[in-house]
């Protein structure tokens, strides 16, 4: 019987506590439940904080609160005894109790006749006691006492949870504000800046959009401090921050990294010009005379360095370092200006040409600067692909090419990768594409080369009428290829290679086919990156607008495929994704086949 009642207590407890409960909620619940289960008139909880000797009580009525407090003052009573001895204490009738004379007398005066105390235990120690009162003498049965102790045990656990959480929340709130912001300007400090940079990297990876870092430094700030003192120096900085802020967009983060050094993280940018415009705006705002002290007549100036970053982990910090170096170049040029970092390999093209669904941008030979000659760093792709036992990725990319052709309504497809110095190497092609791919590589011209050079897609719907690549067009049409479409494999400002689609008859891609081709290019890009670096550049499920990427079976299958192909699990995920797209489109079904060992990827062809 007791078990049944107790169980309903615990059921109710669990329900009440599914809010982010406080210690008060637990204590209130405890009191309410105890009154229902046992023949008592009231109760209280005494919490001892042994370190400081503080106590805290919660009771069902005021008279009891006084009695509980009294125990602490007197240094005697059942609650203290239960707390100290770790055993339940029973006083069925305070009128005949001889153990706690002073306390019992006070309790009788307050109208209490029977008192039972139970320790609140945790991790081998106690932190308080539960006390139950009746106005008439009464005896609790052993079963009732055991029930009371069970409730006390459960309540003790929940109390510890609530207190731990309350303490950590209070501490966190205080610390978070203090630890992450600069006290003078209220701006994010270096630590929070690092956090923001990491967030920007993640977003960049997800959205395939680079971001920029601007490093700002006040020109000759030391002179301000030396001439006017640090107090004025501080006021100058606060006023400067106000102005700089006005020049920023909502997507920009301004942080103070040290004395007179500030950093702006610019995300969601339309192109390089927008960031340079922000830098110039900030520089202009700084030169307006600052209303600090009448003595300070001369305006101050700042120098800025701009650098770009992509989504690879650590790219933000690296850009910070490069922006700092660029800022010194601006200073050497006399200050009061900005300089753009030149080591990261030019600026990224506007993002519009990169994302699926925004239409295909076109490169013509007249626009954009020549982008070749930056391929050396990409060579590892080829090395990485070659290090994989032949057959696995080779077969896969071949399948991918066939899938690409099928899904885009073309006849064949090939993948070329940057082999250094802007040269392309053919790594895989579906049937029929290989001769045309080789042709481009041999001639050093063709749609793939142009797409690679400009970092934008190239359309050649009728090669016969095309005058851009005379040698290639002649040879290709002679081999039965009359249309070609090339899509660069772009990650940030890095070009990994080109996916090219071929048609035997002239004809353009319709918008849907273009979109499929762009999607495919990203899939191939991610596969190459995953094989090279161990992880793909972006969340592949977002590419597909499907919600299966965190499905258990897909990940289990990826774990298995990583063993079958001797590649990382992240790369295996990209392989599964690519394979499913090229074959059936059903990733989940493929995963289940792998788990059930109905399908396996083999290292040998």
């Amino acid at each position: 019987m007791m078990e049944h009642v107790l169980l309903s207590v615990l059921v109710r407890f669990a329900r009440t506590l599914t809010a982010e409960f406080t210690s008060h909620d637990v204590l209130d619940g405890l009191m309410a439940e105890v009154g229902q289960v046992l023949p008592v008139d009231g109760g209280g909880v005494l919490l001892m904080d042994s370190a400081v000797g503080h106590h805290f009580t919660s009771t069902s009525d005021e008279a009891i609160r006084r009695i509980e407090g009294l125990q602490v003052e007197l240094g005697e009573g059942p609650c203290l005894a239960a707390y100290e001895t770790d055993a339940g204490v029973a006083i069925p009738d305070v009128g005949v109790d001889a153990r706690f004379p002073a306390f019992s007398a006070a309790a009788r005066e307050a109208g209490l006749a029977a008192i039972y105390s139970f320790p609140l235990r945790h991790a081998g120690g106690r932190f308080g006691a539960l006390e139950l009162y009746a106005r008439e003498p009464m005896e609790l049965t052993p079963a009732q006492r055991e029930a009371a102790q069970t409730i006390a045990d459960i309540a003790a656990s929940y109390l510890i949870m609530a207190r731990a959480r309350e303490r950590s929340e209070a501490a966190n709130a205080l610390l978070a504000q203090a630890a992450l912001h600069d006290p003078l300007t209220g701006l994010p400090n270096r630590q929070l800046l690092h956090d923001r940079l990491a967030t920007a990297e993640d977003r960049s990876r997800r959205e395939q959009q680079p971001f920029a870092v601007i490093f700002l430094d006040v020109d000759d700030f030391k002179a301000v401090n030396d001439t006017w003192g640090h107090e004025v120096g501080d006021q100058v900085l606060v006023a400067l921050v106000d102005r700089v802020r006005k020049g920023l967009r909502a997507a920009d983060t301004l942080a103070r990294v040290s004395g007179d050094e500030f950093v702006i993280v610019c995300e969601q940018i339309a192109g390089w010009w927008e960031v340079e415009a922000i830098a110039d705006k900030v520089i202009a705002a700084a030169t307006e005379p600052l209303p600090v002290g009448s003595a300070l007549g001369t305006p101050i100036a700042v120098s800025a360095g701009v650098a770009w970053a992509g989504g690879t982990p650590g790219a933000g910090l690296e850009a910070l370092r490069r922006a700092d170096a660029a800022m010194y170049i601006a200073k050497r040029r006399g200050g009061d200006q900005h300089a753009v970092d030149g080591t990261s390999g030019a600026q990224p093209a506007p993002s519009a040409t990169r994302s699926v669904g925004e239409g295909v941008g076109e490169a013509s030979d007249s626009e954009a600067t020549d982008r070749s000659g930056r391929g050396e760093e990409l060579h590892p792709v080829v090395a990485a692909l070659e290090s994989i036992p032949s057959g696995s990725v080779g077969t896969l990319t071949q399948r991918l090419c066939a899938g690409a052709a099928r899904r885009t309504g073309t006849d064949s497809a090939g993948i070329t990768v940057d082999a250094g110095h802007g040269d392309l190497d053919s790594i895989s092609a579906s049937q029929g594409a290989e001769p045309i791919e080789t042709l481009q590589v041999d001639l050093g011209e063709g749609p793939a080369y142009t797409a690679h050079r400009h970092g934008a897609p190239v359309r050649a719907p009728d090669l016969r009428a095309d005058e851009r690549w005379p040698a290639f067009s002649t040879e290709a049409t002679a081999r039965g290829c009359q249309a070609a479409f090339a899509f660069p494999l772009l990650w940030g400002s890095a070009e990994l290679g080109v996916l090219t689609l071929y048609r035997a008859a002239p004809g353009d891609l319709d918008p849907e086919q273009q979109e499929a081709a762009l999607l495919f290019a990203r899939l191939v890009l991610n596969l190459l990156l995953a094989v090279q670096t161990g992880r793909p550049a972006e969340q592949l499920d977002e590419l597909f607008g499907e919600d299966v990427a965190d499905a258990a079976s897909v990940h289990q299958a990826a774990g298995m495929v990583s063993g079958q192909l001797a590649i990382s699990v992240a790369a295996a995920l990209a392989v599964l994704r690519a394979h499913a797209y090229a074959e059936s489109g059903d990733l989940r079904a493929l995963a289940e086949d792998v788990i059930a060992r109905r399908y396996r990827f083999d290292r040998a062809a």
Binding site: L6, A552, H555, S562, R588
Partner: protein, 269 residues
Amino acid sequence: MASPRRARVETREDKAQMSTAGGSDLALQQQLLDTFVEFADTLVEDFDVVDFLSRLTKRVVELDLAAEAGILLANSSGGLRLMAASHERSQLLELLQVEVREGPCQDTFDTGAQVVVADLEAEQERWPTFGARALELGFRSVVAVPLRLRGDVLGGLNLFSTQAGDMDHVQRSVVQAIADVVTISLIQYRELEHSQSVAAQLQHALSSRVTIEQAKGVLAEQLKVSPDEAFVLLRDYARSTNRKIAAAATGVVEGTISAQDTVRQEGKQ
């Protein structure tokens, strides 16, 4: 250093595990009581949320409330994802994934109310894919209970039985209480550095689950074992090296823990 109380609980727990189905009502209630005490006790410590939830689903089976059980949580985009299951074998996983698109758990998540299907055969048209698959796997009845947090629903606890039949009032409230304990454990789950929103914690818990699936796959492939056995190896390795399952899984996925390590550890036990 175990407290006297903990020792007492464990003795009772052993007793609970030994008693078979069909024991007296009183025995069942005693087992349930012990289960609640045990859960509350675990949550006080720095507990392993994956281990805890997988133990909890197993306990639901031991208490004869279901033949198999699973917990699904909502991810940041509101889709339901597997968090724990009493049986790691892939059939149940598959079934729970079918659940992701239709099924009692999806319904309980959408409505915040318990969903009880006493006989799947009689209600096949309600969830055509899920119903057919569940029957095929030998399940006849299903109960889904919401994981409630204030006004929100975080996910659901799913119970599958091989026999048709409804739960009585007491069983339903017990099952809801167990679901509430799951919610409490998720509130208590503080793996993240800073105090985070419950949504962020759920996402974090789910991503640790993703890593565990990957590790299971790695072990299953390299050791030629079933996913269920792979999970046991991973869990035992984590326990014996005093790590959390998620941390051990990360080690396996990143290659710092080899498949052979987990077997060697097993041999020592």
